[in-house]
C-alpha cells in the first residue's frame, strides 16, 4: 500500500466519521422544525416569510385581493404608520403584495394605477382622488382611483 493509498483511506475515514458524529444533532434540528411547525396553524405558516423579514401585517395585504378585481392594476405606497419591524422591512412589502395579489398587476407609477394599496401611508398624500377607500385594518387601506 503506497502513502497515497493510506492518505486516501485516512481522509475517507475522517470525513465519513464527521458525518456520523453530526447525525444525532441534525436529527434533533429536523425534529425541532417539525414540532415547531406542528404547533402553528397552517394559516400562520403561510405568512411566515413576510413576518420573518419584519412585514407585520401580511394577512391584511392578502385581504386586498377581496377588494381589487383580478384584472385590476394597483400601485403600492408605504408610510410612517406601516406595521414594520424596522425601516428596511419596507423593501419587502412590495414583494409580498406582488406575491399574494397576482394576477392583479402592480404598477410603479400612480398615474397608471386603478387602485392604490396603502401600507401605513396617507392616501391623500398621493394627490389622487378616490371613488372609495376600504380600511383593511392596521393602517392598511385600499383606494379605488376616481378617473
Amino acid at each position: 500500500m503506497t502513502w497515497e493509498d493510506r492518505l486516501a483511506g485516512g481522509v475517507a475515514v475522517v470525513a465519513v466519521s464527521a458525518a456520523a458524529i453530526i447525525a444525532p444533532r441534525q436529527l434533533l434540528y429536523v425534529s425541532r422544525d417539525v414540532r415547531s411547525a406542528a404547533a402553528q396553524p397552517r394559516a400562520m405558516r403561510t405568512l411566515a416569510p413576510a413576518m420573518q423579514v419584519g412585514v407585520l401585517a401580511p394577512a391584511r395585504i392578502a385581504a386586498a385581493a377581496a377588494v381589487i378585481p383580478r384584472d385590476g392594476r394597483y400601485a403600492l405606497v408605504t408610510g410612517p404608520s406601516a406595521p414594520l419591524r424596522e425601516e428596511a422591512s419596507a423593501d419587502y412589502v412590495s414583494f409580498w403584495a406582488m406575491k399574494v395579489l397576482l394576477p392583479r398587476r402592480r404598477v410603479d407609477r400612480l398615474d397608471d394605477a386603478e387602485w392604490v394599496l396603502s401600507y401605513g401611508a396617507d392616501l391623500k398624500s398621493t394627490g389622487l382622488r378616490y371613488r372609495r377607500v376600504i380600511d383593511l385594518g392596521d393602517h392598511i387601506r385600499v383606494g379605488e382611483v376616481a378617473r
Binding site: 429536523v30 417539525v34 406575491k99 397576482l102 398587476r105
Partner: protein, 474 residues
Amino acid sequence: MTGSALAGTLALAVAWVAVGGALLRASGLLRTARPLLPLLPLALVTGWAFTGVAATVLLMVGLSASPWQLALTWGAAVVLAAATARRRLPRADVLADEPTGTARNVLARAGAAAACGYLVALLVRALVPLGQLHPDAWTQWLAKAMVIYRLGGLDTGAGGFTSQANADYPPLDPALEATTFRFAGTADYLVLPFAHWLVLAAFVGAAAFLLRRRAPAHVVWPSLAMLVLAPKLTSLAGSSLADEPLAIMIGLATICGALWLLDGSAGLAPLVCLFLAAAALTKNEGAVLAALVGLALATGGSRRWVARIAFVLTPLAAFGAWQLWIGAHDVPPNVAHDFGRLLHPGRLADHVSYVRYGATSLLDHLFSPGEWLLIVPATLVLGLVAARRRSRLAPLALGVPLAATACYSIVYWAGNGICTWMPARSCDGTWRDIEWLVSASADRIVAPVVVELAVLFPLLISASSREGRLRRNT
C-alpha cells in the same frame, strides 16, 4: 398538505418517472430484463430535468407550459425515445469485482441506513413545513413561479416576469415550481417541500445506482450519507432556492460525466447533456458551472470528439437561447452587477476589496465543517492524489471548484451593493454595501460546487484503491 395536493404532486412524479424511464431506455441504461426498482430514482430525476428544460422552452416560445402542453411534450419524448431505444448496455452496470467481508457489509448497511433514515426525517419535515423561507426564495423564485402560474407564462407586462427581481435569470426553476402548483391544484407554497423532497430522495437513489457501477457499496453509501447529513444540504432541502435543484443537476451531470470518462458508456453522454442544459437554465451561476463541468469532461482524455464537443456546447446553447429571449424582450440589465466594470482596470482597482472579500467568503463557506462537514477538503485531497496518478477525474475534482470560485469572485468584483436595488436600505458606504450582497449569496452559491465534489468522493476513493490493487497484482 391536503390529499388532493399530495395526489397531484405524486401524479406529477409518476409522469417524471414515465418520461425519464423512456429516455433511459433510449440511452440504453434501462433494460426490461433487469429489476426496474433501482432505476426508478434515476428515471424520476431524468424526467424532472427533462420537464424543466421542456417547460423552459415552451415558456420561451410564448406558451404557458400548461399540463396539457407538457403532456404533449412528454408524449413526443416517449415516442421518440421508443423509436431510438438501444437494446444493449455497453458494459456491466454493477461493479463486478466488489470486495466482500463482514466489516464492509456493516459499513455499507450503516451508510445506507443513515442516508435513508435521515431522508425519512426530511420527508416528515416536508409534509409539515415550517413555512420560513429565505427572502430570496419568495421575493425572486416563488414570485416568478407565481407569475408563470397566475399570468400564464413569461409575462412581460407590468408586474409580470420581467418586473421581478433578477429578471435576467433563466426560468427553469420557477417553471418547475409553477408546474407543481398546477398539478397540486393550488399556489400554496407549502406544497412545494414535498415535491422537492421527492427529487432529493430520487437524486440520492440515482447517485447510489450510478456510483455502484464503479464503486463498492461500502464506499458509496457512507459517502452519500455524508452528503445528505451535511447541515447546509438540510437547510437547502425544500427551501425553494434555485441552488437546491442546481446542485442536484450539477451532481447528476458530474456522476454521469465521470462514469462516461471511466466506463466509456455512450448512453451516458445524452444524460450529461440533459443535466448540463438544465443546470444552465436554472441560474446564471448554473450556466457558469455547467460550462466548467462540460469543459472538464471535454479535457478528461476521452477520444470521443462528438460527445466532448456536445458537453461544451450544450450549456452554452441553452444559456444562449435564454440570452436571445432576454434580448428580444428588452429585459433591463441586472442592477446587482455592473459587468462593464470588468473592462475598466481603473474602476476594478477601486473595487479590489470586493474580490478579496468575495473570495475569502466563498472559501470560508466551502471549507466550513459546520455547513458541509469535511466534504471539500477531503475530496480535494483525493483529487490531488488523482492528479498525481493522471486520473481522468482530476479536472472535475480540482479544476471545476477552483475555476468556479475564481468566476464567482470575479462576479463579486463586478457587484453592486443592495443600495442600488433596495432603496429603503440605509447605505453608509460601499464596503458595507458589497458585504450584504456577498453575505446574502456566498453560502448558497457554493452548494452546487460542494455537491459536485461530494459525488466524486466515492469514485476517487474507489479509483485510488482499485489502482492500488492493480499495482499489487502486477
